[in-house]
Every structure is written in C-alpha cells, then in structure tokens.
Symmetry: C2
Subunit: 461 residues, 2 copies
Amino acid sequence: MQPSAERNLEQIRRWLDSGDIPGLDGYLNALHPADIAEVIGRLEPGEQQQILSLLERHEEAEVLEYADEAVRGEIVSDLDDKRVSEIAEEMPPEEAADLLIELPEERAEHVLELMAAPEAEEVEDLLRYPPESAGGLMAPALARVRDDQSVGALLDQIRSSDELQEADIYYIYVVDASDRVQGIVPLWDLLRATRGLPVRELMQEVQAIPADMDQEEVAALFGKYDLAAAPVVDKDGRLLGRITHDEIQDVLREETNEDISKFAGTDDDELASLSSINTARLRLPWLLICLAGTFVSASVLHSFGGTLQAYLILVFFVPAVTATAGNSGLQTATMTVRGLATGYVERVGAWPLVLKQVKATVLVAIACGLVGGVVAAVWSDFSSQHVAPGSAAMLGGIIGGSMFAAICVSATLGVLVPMAFRKVGIDPAVASGPLITTSSDIFSLLVYLGVASALLTQLGT
Amino acid sequence: MQPSAERNLEQIRRWLDSGDIPGLDGYLNALHPADIAEVIGRLEPGEQQQILSLLERHEEAEVLEYADEAVRGEIVSDLDDKRVSEIAEEMPPEEAADLLIELPEERAEHVLELMAAPEAEEVEDLLRYPPESAGGLMAPALARVRDDQSVGALLDQIRSSDELQEADIYYIYVVDASDRVQGIVPLWDLLRATRGLPVRELMQEVQAIPADMDQEEVAALFGKYDLAAAPVVDKDGRLLGRITHDEIQDVLREETNEDISKFAGTDDDELASLSSINTARLRLPWLLICLAGTFVSASVLHSFGGTLQAYLILVFFVPAVTATAGNSGLQTATMTVRGLATGYVERVGAWPLVLKQVKATVLVAIACGLVGGVVAAVWSDFSSQHVAPGSAAMLGGIIGGSMFAAICVSATLGVLVPMAFRKVGIDPAVASGPLITTSSDIFSLLVYLGVASALLTQLGT
C-alpha cells in the first residue's frame, strides 16, 4: 500500500502547490476517505485544513474516522468546538465517542452540548463505559427483532426503516419481551427463509458479551468462535449494543503494540503522541528500576574485586556471560509469556512447555559454554598483558563452565518468573524485557564469578 | 474464558474416569466444538481418541478446525490416512487445505488420493498458493452473480441452491461475463432491494486482492478499509475466491507472535511444535551472533586493561552502563520498528518520530547519568578497597558523564538501524532485540571507557 499512499501524497501536494482548487477537489472526490486519512498526517496543518474544508461534513467525518489517533488529535485541536460537534453528529455514535474520549474533558462536554440532542444522547450512553471494555467497543445494535415475530414482519420492518439504510449489518439480534438476547439470525439465512416462518425457527445460538468484559477477553472470544459480530448485554442479559469484527481487529493491533512495548519497558501510548516529555516519562521508570538492579550487579563485582584484579580476563568475559545469559533468559521468558497470552499453555498444558524450554536451554547453554570457553582459552594463551597466571586450558574451562551455569540459571528465571506472575495475577508480559535481563545480569554474574573464583581458589592457583 | 475451559476439562476428565460413555457423549454434545478444541490438548492421546470417536465425522472435523496447530498435529499423527481423508472431506476446502499443509508431503498426497474427487480438487486448487499469500488465506467464493442479473433472479438463485445452505456469507460478488470482479452487494442492501432492480444498481466498489499479495499486506488492507470480506482475483481480475475477517484475525495473531519472537531473537515456530531440538536450533544462531559480538566487547575491555586495573570501580559500573544503554536502545528501536510496522511512520512522517526519540533520549540520559554519577561518587567515597585513587566527586562525574554519552549513542543506534534496514529492504524487526543490545554493548563500552580514561588521564590522576 505504501506506493499508492506515496502517489496520493505527491498528487495532493502538486494540486496544493498549483493552487488549482477545483482540480484538488476533483482528485479528493476520487479517493476513498481511508486513502485521504492515510496521507493527511504528512501535510502541514494549514494544508490539512484546506483539504478538510473542500470535503462535505460527512466526508470530513469519515476521513477523521479512518485517520491515525495522533493525526486526528492534531487536526481536531485546530478546529473550533462548533465544527467538531457538527463532525461528531455526522459520525456513527461509536466513532463520535472515540473522537470525544481523546479530547480534554471540559472540551468534550462542550462539544456534546453543541451536538443535536438525539446524537448527543447516543454518544453519552457509549461514553459511560470504560474504553477498554466491551461497552467501550460497542455500537448501538440497530437490527433487533422480537422472537415471536415472523420472517415476513421482520423483512417489512427492515425495508421500511430509513435509519438502517447506511448500516453494515451481518446479524439480526433476536430478543424476548423484556429485551433479553435470545440468539441471532444471520442475514444469509433470512434471505433464504420464507415469509411465513417464525423468526424463532431461524435463530442461532450466540455468544453474548457482558458490557464490562475486558477487550482482550472479547477479542479472544471472537477468535475462539470466529465471530463476525456479537451482542453486548447488561447484567440481566438485555441487549445494549453490538461489537463487530473491525473493532476486534483494532483491539488485536492495539494489543500487539502494548505487548511489544512492554518487552521494551515502555508503553504504546508513545505511538499515540508526539510529546518527547511524555515519552521520557513512560520510559524512565523502567530504566531507573534496571539501573537500581545494576547497582546490585556492581556490588557483586565489588565483592569479587580481589579475584578480578588478579584475573582481569574474567572482566573481559563479563559481557559474554551477561549478554548470552540475558538473551537466552529473554528467549524463554518471551516464549513463556506468549504461550500464556495466546492461551497456548492452557490448551497444551504448562509441563510440556516447561520441559521443552529446559531441554532447549541445556542444549544452547552447552554450545555457548563451549564456544566461550575455547575463545577464553585461546585469548588467555595469546594475550599476555592484564590476563592471568595459570594454564589457558584451565581458564577456558572455568569461563566456559560458569557461562553454561549462568545461562541455565537465567533461562530458568525466564520460565518461572512469568508463570509466577501469572499465578499471583500480575500481567506476565511485565516479567519479560528489562526486568528479566536485569535480574539475569545479577544472577549470571553471581554464578559466573562464584563458580570461577571457587574453582580458581580450589585449584590453588 | 480460562475458568470455563478449566470447568469443561474437569467435567470431561470426570466422565472419562467414571467410564460412563453415554454420559460423556451427552456432555460433549452440549459443548461448542471450539470448547472441546480448547481443552482436548490437555488430555492423554488415548483419551483424545476416545473423545473424537464419540463425535460424528463433521463434529470431529469442526473440533480439529478450531484446535491449536500443535494439538491438531499430534492428534492427526495418531489417525490413519483413511480417517484423515474422511475428516478433510467434512471440512470446508480452505480448512482441509490448512490441515493437509501441516502433514508430511507424501502423507498429504495420499490423503488427497483417498478423498472424494470434487472435494479433493477444491483442496488441491487452494494448495497451489503459498500459505502466507492471499491465495493461501482464501476460501472458494460461493455467492457470485452476473452483473446483468436482476435482484429477483439473484434471490431465486440463492434460495434454490443447497450447497449454500451452511455458508456464512456477507457479500455477493458481482462479476462480468468473463468472471472479472465488478463489485459487491452487501446482503443487507439485498434484503432491502426490490426484485425488479438490476444487481448493478446495488453494487458497491470493492477492494479486490491479488492472489499473490502477502498476508501482512492483506491484513493491512482489511484494517485500512474495515472490510468484513474481500474477493481474491488473478492477474486478469477474475474471481478466484474470498477472504473473510476471521482469517485476518488469525493473521494478526500470527504476526504478533512473529514480531515478538523476533524481538527475543527466536521464531514463533517454537509455539507450533514441542520439539526442544527444533527450539534450540531456532535460538542458537542469534545467541552465537551475540556471543561473537561480546568478544568485541571483551577486546574493548582488554584494550583498557590498564585503566581498569588502576580504577576497578569502572568495572563495577560496566553493567550499569551496558544495561541502561542497552535498554534505552531497545526502547527507541522497538518504537521505531513498531512505527514502521504499523504504517505510523508513513502516516505521520519519519522526522517527527526521530525528533521525539532524540529529545526523549537526552532527557532519560540526563536522569540516568545523574543517578549513576551520584551513586558512583558515594560508592568510591565509602568503599576503600579495590576502588580508585582520586576524588569521589570526580569519579562520579566521569562515570555519570560517560553513562550519559553511552545512552545517547545506543539510543541513536536504536532509531537509525531499523530505518536503515527498512531502506535496504531488510525486515526492521530483525534490527531490534539481540542485535541492538549487542551492538549497544560494544558502543556503550567504547564510549564509557573511552570518555572515562580520557578524562582520568587528562585530569592527570
């Protein structure tokens, strides 16, 4: 898609520079709102306003619906509240709610006041739910039918109502007299049914989603049952709204950013804002925690100061030990966290996973220990200065052996810490990334220097 | 969902132990196939077979459709080819293709031979496309209509055909006389249309997807236009099949695992198999590359051996420098990679992103440098042995200053390397994780020790 985006951007720039407004207008009309949304962030604020001013309100609304959160935020900040309220009125209520939730509270309230009553009410209803809950994802359920109706009556209802004109609808939601969800009727089955048939006969079971369910859980449900849409219900099972597949795709993309950001010890909010102070604020806590951890490593090194001064080569291989241990710890931690996040551990069981990790770790630890040991031996053999007394082979064996031990220890941490976090109800993803590498630094240094100095003293060198 | 899964597992185990087969049968019949698929991996192979044997072929097929890849692989390996072919016949062709693609080639071919001709042909058609391409994702497009037909004729066609009974269909695909895709008719609009209307009048534009498009690009298209389904076409625009939202959700989950695995220097194939040798094989290359990198770090340390022996405190703070530099490098790299992967960089532009990263880095570098410096000063002040001559404040300043420099350098690496990789056409995600931390180790040590020893000698201590 990038090429098409670049082409559109070029064209729009050319039209803007040429000042040929009717030409620009014509070009924009030929584009899908999503295509305009894709490139508008690359233009100067002034140009952005110029482009929006050429669109009709409903087109403007669509472009903002498709636009990136950060881009939309910047554009809306340049519009007055009246204009924003007019745009919000043109949006489906769930999109308008997403727009308002990004505004400062008092501004959002003012925009709501400016909006026409019915639209404003629908939006306010949706704003009651936390944005990361099923209620925050849902749109009003447009097509609902009483379970005692006939297919014919339903069809007439659908054909007569104008508000349903623009909607993209996959299921009809069947409710009882007190609005409790009974099931769904896929449009496909409705098309094939005869008018006389009672709706109840066409009805299929459906997974109703409580409004307070977390969006990750909702996405998991959609994945488990391959749903295109699902009804959202209150505590008594009454129909509140519907969630569609496109919301779920957004959730999955969001979660990807969230999870990956956690691995790096930051937060995906970074992606939604261009403020560097905000970014620093999100990163610093992790960095300081890790920094504190490194002071523990420092005192470990300090406590072995004598050995280090006598065998400086041990210092040279500190990065080799901490890095390989850290990386294999990160690998086991990552795969354990993913196993937990994807429900893989639930479906396959924890033990097969742990067993696999342990065996794999021993294999890589042997390989790395060997390489490290050989290199260390050669090193101490060839380089005289600052290295050490004692035979090269012995030093190589010691360094290789302690590397092996260090890798095993931090790989074990990588499996156990996320599992433990899960048990006590902390998000396992927190256990990966910086936290695992820092703790692995400490433990691998302890093991490495502990084993090394023990062997050295024992060998009486 | 986990609680419900646990409950189902318990119940099934209880029925199995009780040996009350009719009871078990009854319990299974009350479950959705996805619920059985969710827990079957936790049972012993014998128990798995017992449960499948209680299901009818089409139920058995559904359970395997919903089951985890690794679980399905193990179950199928215990079934004979005849049984597998019967199951494959019960599956929709795209699911059967996914099943066969996981089998050893000669086994897959044998199963195909055993399948009934029409089903086998449909599956073979789909198997022609690479699994990660649009063709690999697609299902046969069931509901197609000529653009010169009337709504009435289309409705009659839909009602008469039996093969369309079970299908979940959202759009009718409109084609011309030579089967080239002209557009779609959403079922919803079809429901509201009058029989006399020509289908052409109901038709909406649609994003047709070339069969050879990569699945990531397909997912991006679905996200950009919020599609529920899209037609897949050959080079001449002829309708080959359709891709639906649920396939896209699977792709997004897959990509998440792939990306996150890359950050940890391994591969998400780990999650699809229980082989530890395979796992080790996937991880070792990265570990060895990093290990090689650490030997460079070792020679850096070696070359400063004299300074280190004189100022052993510099050694104690090596982890502080490498870890904080590595982490902030990882943070900038991760966010840059995500920015590129999500198209955020395209939509907002590269410069605002780089600028934000630079400013944020300077801020965190100052903070970490200060903390590190103060601690180093206090450290050298209180701890006499193995530390250093010279004033504590001076040492603190030197260590803090060189930490600041080291962080800035590796954070810059974190931004530039992924962007450079993208430019030359390497997946930027490769640049994150182990690669960035290893190179950051080398550079941060160079900067740290370079600055420190320069200052120390200059200060003539």
